[in-house]
């Protein structure tokens, strides 16, 4: 099954880390974690997101497109990155989530993906 590990962190703290390791670099724990996911052959994808100050929100109502500055919701902890993994069951997903550095300095939400019957990747 495919799961998203959604990493929510306090953006103020995240900014400090970014200052230490550089805006575009991954911190050492994340490098190690990503490597572990790769070695186990479970990673499907993953990336770090830029802070919510860069977010723009779009909504179409009555045929009109509304573009708003800012994230969908203003919260102290915001979505900061994600991994998509493919593992046998929730327990496996949860144990990978627990190893994610984001679980130690924030919260990791584990969400299963719908299995689309007409997934083009499945042919």
């Amino acid at each position: 099954m495919k799961y998203m590990l959604l990493i929510y962190v306090d953006e103020a703290k995240g900014a400090q880390v970014a200052k230490q390791v550089g805006e575009t670099a991954m911190s050492a724990p994340y490098i190690a974690y990503t490597e572990a996911l790769q070695k186990a052959g479970v990673i499907v994808g993953g990336d770090r997101l830029q802070p919510t100050s860069t977010a723009t929100t779009v909504k179409v109502a009555d045929g009109k497109t509304q573009v708003l500055n800012g994230p969908y919701a203003e919260t102290k902890e915001a979505l900061a990155g994600y991994y998509m993994i493919d593992v046998p069951d929730l327990d496996a997903a949860l144990s990978w989530a627990a190893r994610c550095p984001g679980a130690a300095h924030g919260t990791v939400e584990v969400r299963p993906l719908w299995t689309m019957a007409s997934d083009p990747r499945k042919g």
Binding site: D89, L90, T115
Partner: protein, 417 residues
């Protein structure tokens, strides 16, 4: 002529047999697909037939084979229908195949009920629904029966159960017994769920509500299943011992019309064989050398049962056991019980002082046992006014009419009016 009581017992035994087989088959059928609802669908008609047929005609020699044969046709039909109706439901076909395979060799169906219980009590399942879910999946109780036992509207209970089953499937909660490194933590939530089933059945001292009373028996059966499948888990042994100790005193908890507190119970009404079984389980647990909440609570009950040899509860041991429990749980319930035991060992003043020490805990304001204990100790201390006030509060906080009547009687006995 068969006496009515025997006939009722035979019916109950047949119904139990149907529930045991049902749970085993649900666990087996849903294990791979994780689709409990589909497994329930497949067995629903067969199970209903077993519930009405077996009590009349006796339990068949191979109950699982009987159920599978009755269920097979329907499941295959359903799978075919759904195959054309919806995509991505391969697991239903898988289930029909498993049903077919199992029916050809019903004697060899592996027992996966333990794995099913771990799925039902998974931390990803809302805590309040874990016990009801076990009752439904493992024992086949319907939402109406479960709702009435847990004092929740049947429709609400039904929705919660459906949501939980959907989550098992959608989130991919596995049917497996956790690895040793996480077993202890995960086992706790299974034990808690089983104990919640027991407690629901227990909270009816009159035994007037048959549905709820049955729950205690079912919980004990689940406890036995856990011990049989995990003989080396001390807390599983402790939980079973605790339930057996409580159950052994069931008939002594009430006389013709009233609630009888533990200290006044007639020991002749205790089930002594059950008490001995409970103590033997506790000994088995102790050898495994890992103390826990259920073992400690069972040991408290064992120390009360020691009245059989000592002439009174072993209060010294009880205070020590509550000390251990308090360190483990920090529970206000334990703190109140400890104060009551302390009063027996060191005197009423010491017990009252212990109650004073927890009076600042906000939870005490609406905790009936705190006020009942306080009233009892104040009365013993000679403070009739204080006792009267505390009884008034305890009565106001109690919802069970039988216990309310008991407290009212004690209050009247103060003679303050």
């Amino acid at each position: 002529m068969i006496p009515e009581k025997d006939e009722r017992a035979a019916r109950a035994a047949a119904e139990s047999a149907a529930r045991r087989s049902y749970g085993k088959l649900i666990a087996y059928l849903a294990a791979r697909s994780r689709d409990v609802a589909a497994a329930e669908d497949a067995l629903a008609e067969a199970f209903a037939r077993a519930l009405s047929d077996w009590p009349r005609n006796g339990v068949p020699q191979n109950p699982e084979a009987w159920l599978l044969t009755a269920a097979r046709r329907r499941a295959i039909d359903a799978a075919r229908r759904r195959k054309s109706a919806a995509m991505g439901e391969e697991h239903l076909i898988l289930m029909a195949e498993e049903l077919e395979e199992a029916a050809s060799n019903a004697a060899a169906i592996p027992d996966r009920r333990l794995a099913l219980m771990f799925a039902c009590a998974h931390p990803a399942i809302e805590a309040a629904v874990r016990a009801p879910l076990i009752l439904q999946c493992v024992l086949g109780f319907d939402a109406v029966a479960i709702g009435s036992a847990f004092l929740v509207a049947p429709a609400t209970m039904g929705q919660r159960l459906v949501r939980a089953k959907t989550k098992i499937r959608a989130a991919g909660i596995p049917f497996r017994v956790p690895e040793p490194d996480e077993l202890a933590q995960r086992l706790d939530s299974v034990l808690d769920a089983v104990y919640a089933v027991f407690a629901e059945g227990w909270s009816d001292p009159f035994g007037a509500d048959l549905k709820r009373r049955e729950l205690s028996g079912e919980a004990i059966w689940l406890g036995r299943l856990l011990v049989a499948l995990m003989p080396d888990q001390p807390e599983a042994l402790g939980l079973l011992a605790l339930m057996l100790h409580a159950e052994a005193r069931r008939n002594a908890r009430r006389d013709a019309e009233a609630y009888v507190p533990l200290a006044d119970q007639a020991m002749s009404l205790w089930d002594h064989a059950m008490i001995e079984e409970a103590d033997a389980l506790l000994l088995r647990a102790r050898v495994l050398d890992a103390i826990g909440r259920y073992q400690l609570e069972a040991a408290v009950q064992s120390a009360h049962a020691a009245r059989r040899h000592l002439g009174r509860s072993d209060w010294k041991a009880i205070v020590m056991l509550y000390d251990g429990l308090l360190a483990l749980t920090q529970s206000p319930v334990v703190a109140v019980n400890r104060a009551v035991a302390l009063a027996e060992v060191e005197g009423t003043a010491a017990g009252l002082a212990a109650l004073d020490a927890i009076a600042t805990d906000r939870r005490m304001a609406e905790y009936q046992p705190y006020w009942a204990a306080r009233a009892n100790l104040l009365a013993r201390f000679g403070d009739r006014e204080g006792a009267d006030e505390a009884y008034a509060l305890a009565i106001g906080l109690e919802s069970d009419p039988v216990l309310r009547a008991f407290l009212q009687k004690k209050r009247t006995a103060l003679g303050t009016d």
